[in-house]
């Protein structure tokens, strides 16, 4: 009996002795070698990257490990590496990442204090699409330029919000002193700025611009007839550089919050104005922001709750450990004041640099019965990202050498489909005409106003 009891005891103890394989922090792999850097990068991607269902459907990511581990090992130690070695390592990261579908993805690679490389698969996609004349060798050459690499090619958006405001409405973000200050104005004179163009296009208008890159420029106004510019009367026009109202309000800066609140109040007043013929929402160059902004700005147009988008996140360390789809809802107010506007024609202007929340807002407006999208295919970046170290997936660092920015939530539009890396195609494509635009005629905007006029 004693022997049997001993054996049972041993068996019970053995239950507790099985060890678990731990997932380690990406930085824990850094040992000063290129191999360690690659291990940290590969493992960080393995557990933090969200798009493996698209980018590694048949275990391609494991093949990346097998293909590159020895190549990185052959490069030796990072400290004191030659420019040639740095560029070889860069070329490996370039090859590994430039086909990823995540359009928010970027990899900042800093092998020494003299070198800083920036990799972005969406910038590569963008260059391939909009600069078809470049060969792969030329693209690689631009990509390895220390600094912004291929992203340099997308910095200037031809008909972005600032260009539209300046060329079409004669409103320059830079004031007459050559500076840009925080301002908000509601149907008044804006000291230091020429607003005659705004007055010629709008019977009422409101402008908001904040310093620091958030809410760089937002214009709302009710149009008055301007035959020279093809603008009909009585249309609500909204132009936004981003959707960062919620973000700014959460910063708890009283001055900024007051400016933001005043603008929102005025916008809501415009939305509820009797007799509007329709609405033009200009999201060209809109860089995105917070989904809660749609609730803040446009929920008065809803008579019932509406799904804005869906998102999924990681609920485990495995590449396919996904949550289900969370529905993000815009709630209709108890007494919505702008449901009449929702029944009018709504034209949404998008271009190649309408990004992220700019694209989700485009989809939101597409849910109205008489809405249409005009312009060109949007950027195709839908995830939510934040580089705070507490976020359990998405962005990560590998020591001081490498930083990856990637979303912690993958977003699906209201139809439940994934448009990451593809973007939203406009219902009415209108090519950009640079000569016409710089001369003050915006073909896409004209088409939008024409749509409102024809369908009111």
């Amino acid at each position: 009996m004693k022997k049997t009891a001993s054996i049972i005891a041993i068996l019970l103890l053995s239950l507790c002795s099985c060890s678990l394989h731990e997932v380690k922090a990406p930085s824990s792999y850094t040992d000063g070698t290129w191999k360690g850097l690659f291990e940290g990068f590969w493992n960080g991607m393995n557990s933090n990257y969200l798009f493996w269902d698209i980018d590694s459907p048949t275990n391609e990511w494991d093949t990346v490990y097998d293909t590159y581990i020895d190549k990185f090992a052959a490069l030796g130690t990072i400290a004191g590496s030659s420019t040639e070695t740095n560029e070889t390592a860069f070329s490996y990261f370039y090859d590994i990442t430039n086909k990823l579908c995540d359009s928010h993805y970027s990899l900042v690679f800093k092998p020494s204090s003299e070198y800083l490389y920036y990799l972005s698969p969406s910038a590569y996609r963008y260059a391939k699409k909009y600069f078809p004349g470049f060969t792969e060798e030329q693209l690689f050459s631009i990509a390895k330029t220390p600094g912004f690499g291929l992203a340099l090619l997308q910095i200037a958006t031809a008909d972005g919000y600032a260009a539209v405001a300046k060329s079409i409405f004669g409103f320059d973000l830079i004031n007459t002193d050559g500076t840009k200050e925080m301002f908000y104005t509601n149907e008044g004179v804006l000291s230091g700025y020429d607003v005659s163009g705004l007055n010629s296009c709008f019977s009422s208008w409101s402008v908001l611009s904040l310093p620091g890159g958030k809410l760089n420029l937002v214009i709302a106004g009710i149009t008055k007839e301007n035959t020279e510019k093809g603008i009909p009367a009585g249309c609500l026009y909204y132009l936004g550089s981003d959707f960062l109202f919620t973000t700014v309000k959460n910063e708890n800066d009283a001055t900024k919050t007051a400016a933001v609140d005043s603008f929102i109040q005025t916008l809501k007043k415009y939305e509820a104005t009797d007799g509007l013929t329709g609405m033009v929402v200009d999201l060209r160059g809109n860089v995105g922001g917070d989904p809660l902004d749609v609730q803040l700005l446009f929920s008065d147009m809803l008579s019932k709750d509406r799904v804005l988008a869906y998102h999924k996140s990681k609920i485990g360390e495995g590449r396919l450990d996904y949550s289900g789809l969370f529905a993000e809802t815009v709630k209709a107010p108890a007494s919505p004041a702008a449901t009449a506007l929702a029944e009018k024609p709504i034209a949404v202007l998008i271009n190649r640099m309408t990004v992220s929340m700019g694209e989700i807002a485009t989809d939101f407006f597409s849910g109205f019965e008489k809405s249409v999208t005009i312009g060109e295919t949007s950027y195709g970046a839908f995830g939510s990202w934040n580089d705070d170290s507490s976020v359990p997936s998405g962005c990560f660092k590998v020591g001081d050498y490498l930083k990856v920015t990637t979303p912690y939530e993958q977003t699906y539009l209201s139809d439940g489909k994934n448009y990451e890396g593809k973007g939203i195609e406009p219902d009415i494509p209108v090519p950009y005409d640079n000569d016409q635009f710089t001369a003050g005629t915006d073909g896409r905007l004209l088409k939008a106003f024409q749509y409102v006029k024809d369908n009111k």
Binding site: M1, T4, I8, L11, A25, W61, L292, L320, N386, P392
Partner: protein, 227 residues
Amino acid sequence: MFSLMLCFLIGSLFPEKQFSKWNAGISFGPDYNWLLTGTSYRENVIHEMNTGIIVSGTLAYRFTRHLGVSTGLSWTQKNYTRSCTYLNQKSFASFTNTFVEMPIFFDFSFGSERTRFVTSAGGYFGYWTVREVEGEDVIYDGYASDSIASYEESAFNGTRDNRFEAGLIARLGCFFTEDPLSVYLGVAYAYALTDLSKNYQKNTANKHNSTITAEMGLSLAWGGNKK
């Protein structure tokens, strides 16, 4: 282990007839499962135990005064939760996983025939029949009302989910007998040796179920001739 198995084998080949007894019954009770997983570097990700229920049908054969074997079929839930707080957000997921399992125990019993204690050890194998995940994201906002999004999902992923489970199990219990009926009270601990995920990728954290059950039941005994 080999000695233990040999002991039971010999015992079962040469049963002591006066003690040899069959016993069949049903039992049920709560279970408490937690996920053993290697994610320790993510300090704000917390896996917590969750409760479920277990219902079992049992069949036992005692062949000597102290030794016996038993088996059965169990319907058991192995639930757990995962939560994470970051930025102004809390993400929560509740996993409800149902398994059908067959344990095989080597039993050692002692005490009187009316009140008999049993300690058992063995293994089990099972099949993961139902997977349900309920998730909730709450975004605490400084000025607007808190935003809550949720989902329910029940699909298996053929690439990811390992629906076969096998592991080790041990239990302690007591039978209170008034022939031919017995009332059973006991607790058991099961450790899954298999991972909840298939080995579909390099270097991932293991995920093993670890379950304590508390059961009570009723059984009918037959055979044997000594009280």
